[in-house]
């Protein structure tokens, strides 16, 4: 007994040190957890939303969007979900779409865009929703009719009257007209060392024309695009149309899904994983996590592409 007591006594300082270190580690881990909550990304898939003729079911599209918003915000009703994302009734919300018709049309289907604008209209008036692209011609080539009137959802181009903000080198639609933004990308694989064209490349269309080509070779410039103050502070949701996407350049497939997230880096990372799943099935080499995403995380603090920091919620309907 004496011996054990003496031994325990002799070990006491080491034990106390160990306990103190453990407690410190625990507190540090908890603090880290509080400081860096995981970025939530939601993917919603539904095999009924699109058929093999590229025809989209509006009802299913609406249901998918609602499910995605609920999973992202925890709010069942669209109005509450948008409020949780920061949308207020007085806001003017810009939806930057990607109208791309090179080889395979990957522009957002009208039904999916309607699902989004109808949902937004539970909070803001329809005329306070602005769907925009780099040019009116881009919108029209994808079947969207220009509307700059005071009635209904507006469809306009950056090349129209609003012009560009000199300081941000950004369309005034994003910098001035709109108080909130939605980055509505398409699931598009471009390869050629540039991987995929998702949320970062979608906003190239909001830049002044002279800056657009810089995004094609300058990874830092591309990463910095979403760090522009207006884009960073006003974007409340990144959503990617993956009903039909491409997993190789110019080669489409019907993924039948949407990606939603507030963190553009994590959402883009998820897009790469989705493309890579298909590439693996088709025995194509995986796309690496691109340099611009790493820069966006490390240099511009736009989010995370570290898998352990991403909470990926997958919904199959």
């Amino acid at each position: 007994m004496i011996c054990r007591t003496r031994r325990a006594f002799s070990l006491w300082p080491a034990g106390r040190l160990f306990a103190a270190a453990a407690a410190t580690l625990l507190i540090w881990a908890l603090a880290q957890g509080q400081a860096q909550p995981k970025s939530k990304v939601v993917t919603v898939r539904n095999s009924k939303v699109i058929n093999a003729r590229n025809q989209v079911d509006l009802t299913q599209a609406k249901a998918m969007l609602a499910a995605g918003l609920e999973a992202l915000t925890g709010k069942k009703e669209a109005k509450a979900a948008w409020a949780a994302l920061g949308l207020k009734p007085a806001d003017v919300v810009g939806v930057k779409v990607n109208c791309n018709n090179w080889t395979i049309t990957l522009s957002p289907p009208a039904e999916l865009l309607q699902a989004l604008t109808d949902s937004l209209a539970t909070v803001v008036s329809a005329n306070n929703i602005i769907v925009y692209e780099a040019s009116v011609a881009d919108l029209e080539s994808s079947g969207f009719k220009r509307n700059s009137s005071t009635s209904g959802v507006r469809f306009i181009g950056c090349n129209e009257g609003a012009g560009f903000d000199d300081e941000e080198r950004l369309s005034r639609i994003a910098s001035s007209t709109c108080t909130k933004l939605i980055n509505f990308a398409s699931l598009k694989c471009v390869e050629q060392g540039r991987g995929a064209s998702l949320f970062f490349k979608n906003q190239i269309g909001s830049l002044v024309e002279k800056d657009m080509p810089k995004c094609h070779g300058d990874m830092d410039f591309l990463a910095s695009t979403l760090a522009k103050p207006s884009l960073k502070s006003k974007t409340i949701l990144n959503i990617c149309n993956g009903l039909r996407g491409t997993y190789k350049r110019g080669v489409p497939w019907y993924w039948g899904g949407l990606i939603l997230g507030q963190d553009p880096v994590a959402s883009e990372w998820a897009g790469y994983q989705i493309i890579n799943e298909k590439r693996e099935q088709e025995k194509a080499a995986a796309l690496p996590v691109p340099e611009y995403l790493k820069i966006a995380e490390s240099k511009y603090g736009l989010g995370t592409c570290t898998p352990g920091h991403i909470d990926w919620v997958k919904i199959e309907r």
Binding site: N54, N100, W102, T103, P213, H216, R249, G250, V251
Partner: protein, 182 residues
């Protein structure tokens, strides 16, 4: 539209022809350069009409009426530039059901460049079947889309229908383009 105005009178037709011929000769003497008005298809495919005026895009240093390659296909234009891209004519036809038939005629500068582009999987993916449109063409069927790539001289030509039920019509039209494109 240009041809419609030219046909208003015999004199204007002759004058236009003379100007075009002189322009063509001048260009030939100065080396090959894209003259889109000379290479547009002479007629629309059966059942289709022009959906909009043809568009013409050049390079950043030598843009054409509608701008440069990045206005046309954004970052995807880099791969064409890698093969000597000089210009493209972009033509869209629509039928009464709003189906589209698109023709893009890329001037790649030389026949060698055009063939290199044709062989590049970043332009013409690997998943093709070989068909003949007067020359060997690569055909792609991604339901409901059907499209073709082929080369004529220094031109890399892309033709696409949004309704694969019109595949045969597209192939016939591609055969005509192969004959018409110089």
């Amino acid at each position: 539209m240009i041809r419609g105005r030219c046909c208003d009178s015999f004199h204007s037709l002759c004058l236009t022809g003379l100007v075009m011929a002189l322009g063509f000769l001048a260009e030939m003497s100065a080396g090959p350069r894209f003259q889109p008005e000379l290479f547009l298809p002479k007629a629309a495919p059966a059942g289709f009409i022009l959906a909009q005026p043809p568009e013409f895009y050049g390079t950043e240093s030598e843009p054409l009426a509608d701008g440069h390659i990045f206005h046309f296909i954004d970052g995807g234009g880099v791969v064409y530039l890698n093969h000597g891209f000089q210009a493209v004519a972009h033509i869209i036809y629509k039928d009464e059901k709003a189906n589209s038939l698109t023709v893009d005629i890329y001037d790649m500068g030389t026949a060698q460049n055009a063939l290199a582009g044709f062989a590049d999987q970043a332009i013409c993916p690997a998943d093709f079947t070989v068909i003949s449109v007067g020359t060997e063409a690569k055909a792609y069927h991604f339901e409901p889309d059907f499209f073709i790539y082929f080369v004529k001289g220094r031109f890399l030509i892309y033709a696409h229908v949004t309704d694969d039920g019109q595949s045969e019509l597209l192939i016939d039209y591609a055969k005509r383009l192969y004959k018409e494109v110089p």
